[in-house]
Amino acid sequence: MSDSQDLTGTGAPQGGPQPGDRKPMTLINVREGMFGAQGDTTGYDLLVKPIQMPGVSERPYGEWFDGVVDVLEELLGDDAGAAIEGVVVDRGELTLHIAREHLVEVCQHLRDDQDLRFELCLGVSGVHYPADAGRELHAVYPIQSITHNRRLRLEVSVPDADPHIPSVTSVYPMNNWHERETWDFFGIVFDGHPSLARIEMPDDWVGHPQRKDYPLGGIDVEFKGAEIPSPDTRRQYR
């Protein structure tokens, strides 16, 4: 099926962006066939469906989002365009896609400016999108302001071939273990981290288990005479 094509029309815009379309930031997955079976049930086998995250939002973003983005852009000055790759507002949550070179600077501003005051970084959650070419590994930082009672999300995307992100532990020391965990599970290297050792897996473990290309490693189980395949090899719905 090398010449597969998009037939659904619900994925990436075909033939240029349509008016009102949001520029996609993240390709979550590309689905082929139906029901997770080999090929789809009709035997047609050519269904290919890219699944995109909700794309970039246009101003006004609503709520307090515009104000925070304004202040941040002002503080970043000339770097603002390069630092903020995109602003996504979805389900009442603000996501700032940040270029990795500017992550620490952005965090510093978010923490220290009196109009921003995002005191807490609630960790970093890695997400692996193997289909998102050149941006396979994402690090997602929820940042909490207790002063203003707000929360936003920073998202940094790096290619699998060069999985380096500067550590934010100099600004948010509480992210020490969280970054170690994300290194452990996703192989994202946080440059400048004081001690980027594995934290959950054994020291000599090979591989990064929560990446999508890492198998679940389930084993078949016999139950009342029948062999039940493990969840990762079982025929599944998607």
Binding site: I51, P54, R91, E93, L120, V127, P194, L196, I199
Partner: protein
């Protein structure tokens, strides 16, 4: 991979010196080891505490570098209870995910269930559709869970300092909360009771009476704990001004929950960012400015009383909302079965089986599809924060538009707060490590997930 570092770190060896002598102590007389070390002229002793140690709330390894009785460096080694729950959740439907995340922090099972379900509902965009009665049941369960978790923290903390009565008293009180939880959810722990869209089943007949009967029993045991501990000179001697972490330290380390409130900041997600209608309940957020281990015990006990106040309000609301739904009306999300307790345990009710097997083929198809395939969740990501018993419990969920999470990540408050162990113990006495661990109150099942 990053270049290797030579600084000592939590999971690496402390020393590069392969010649360093190793002492193994399995009980016995500590002074023999000290004498042996003195004879060999060792200046630096590294004590490995754990991973199997009764005071560590699971399997926590603490590495202590000591000089005499004084700790000069502490490192916590975790991961011994890592079970890959987050990864497993990516291979199960959104509803099945509940049964996985409930097993993270097993002392506060339903705290994770609640946070996770709020996340799924936000992804689905049905947050406002969750029926009132379901939210009341959720709050009830969350607060009973909070009481149970705090009682374990206080009880095992007392036990670790040699006061067994504190533990037995706390566990008796916790058992009372478990009786109610079991009556309503069918299970004592790992309940899988809170489900996306509502709760698994309505409270059975007699539940409100059982809760009303429970409240004074728990209160009495809480009073006993207060009487036993808070004025006790030995207890105060062990806990006051021990394991101090001031507000600056808390903010630097991202500490939330009772530890942050013990430093004076009244941050509670239930007040700051109410969910499940917490803004309509009357309760206080106790704080202290002592920032020590003693004040955290006091706060946990006070929070139990506050939680009981919320439970009382829940009972009234449950009585007022008798017979109302406990699951969203959308049949594409709501679990199709009505559970009941039969002679062989809990399962689908006979009426439901009769309906799908004998009356309506469409119902059978619907049941089969929803239970085996699950429901689709629109693509996107959300972050939900709730106030778990141990602090801010966050959930990051990513959906690829399918029937399973693309990624489910939990910010376990214990994981974050355990980072403070070094700063809480360094410069203190070895015996205070146990106090510090007890007042951090993490559960390693949640820390390691």
């Amino acid at each position: 991979m990053s270049e290797s570092t030579t600084a000592p770190h939590a999971t690496g060896p402390f020393t590069e010196d392969p010649e360093a002598p190793e002492y193994s102590a399995y009980g016995g007389d500590w002074s023999e080891i000290a004498d042996e070390a003195a004879r060999l002229g060792q200046q630096r002793i590294v004590v490995n505490m754990g991973p199997q140690h009764p005071s560590t709330h699971g399997v926590l390894r603490v590495m202590l570098e000591i000089e005499g009785e004084t700790i000069t460096e502490t490192r916590a080694g975790i991961g011994y209870l890592h079970t890959g729950i987050e990864k497993n959740m990516e291979f199960r439907t959104w509803t099945q995910g509940v049964t996985f995340c409930t097993r993270m922090d097993y002392v506060a099972s339903m705290a994770q269930e609640l946070a996770y379900c709020l996340g799924v509902e936000k992804l689905l965009g049905i947050t406002d559709d969750v029926p009132e009665r379901a939210s009341v049941l959720r709050v009830l369960m969350a607060e009973l869970t909070r009481i149970g978790s705090h009682l374990v923290a206080v009880g095992t903390g007392g036990n670790e300092m040699g006061a067994t009565t504190v533990m037995t008293t706390a566990f008796v009180a916790r058992e009372e909360t478990f009786k109610v939880i079991e009556l309503i959810s069918g299970l004592r722990t790992n309940n899988a009771y809170i489900r996306p869209g509502g709760v698994a089943q309505d409270a059975p007949e007699g539940a409100t009476d059982a809760i009303r009967a429970m409240i004074p029993k728990v209160k009495q045991k809480l009073d006993e704990l207060v009487d036993l501990q808070l004025a006790n000179p030995i207890f105060k001697g062990r806990l006051q001004d021990v394991a101090v972490l001031d507000l600056a330290g808390c903010m630097a380390l991202g500490i939330t929950g009772p530890i942050l409130r013990s430093a004076g900041l009244p941050y509670d997600v239930r007040k700051a960012e109410p969910y499940c209608g917490y803004e309509t309940y009357d309760f206080q957020v106790p704080t202290s400015t002592d920032a020590d281990a003693y004040s955290r015990v006091v706060l946990r006990l006070e929070e139990c009383y506050e939680s009981l106040k919320i439970v009382e309000q829940c009972v009234e609301r449950l009585e007022a909302s008798e017979g109302q739904p406990v699951m969203v009306a959308d049949k594409k999300v709501a679990w199709p079965a009505q559970l009941s307790v039969g002679s062989d345990g809990q399962g689908n009710s006979l009426e439901h089986i009769r309906h799908i097997m004998g009356e309506s083929m469409e119902s059978l198809i619907h049941h089969f599809k929803l239970v085996t395939e699950g429901f689709k969740v629109p693509a996107g990501q959300v972050y939900v924060a709730t106030e778990g018993p141990k602090g801010l419990l966050g959930v990051h969920l990513v959906s690829d538009g399918g029937t399973k999470p693309w990624r489910a990540h939990f910010r376990d408050p214990g994981f974050n707060n355990l980072q403070a162990l070094s700063i809480l113990t360094e410069g203190g006495q070895v015996a205070d490590v146990v106090v510090a661990i007890a007042t951090i109150d993490m559960v390693l099942g949640g820390v390691d997930r």
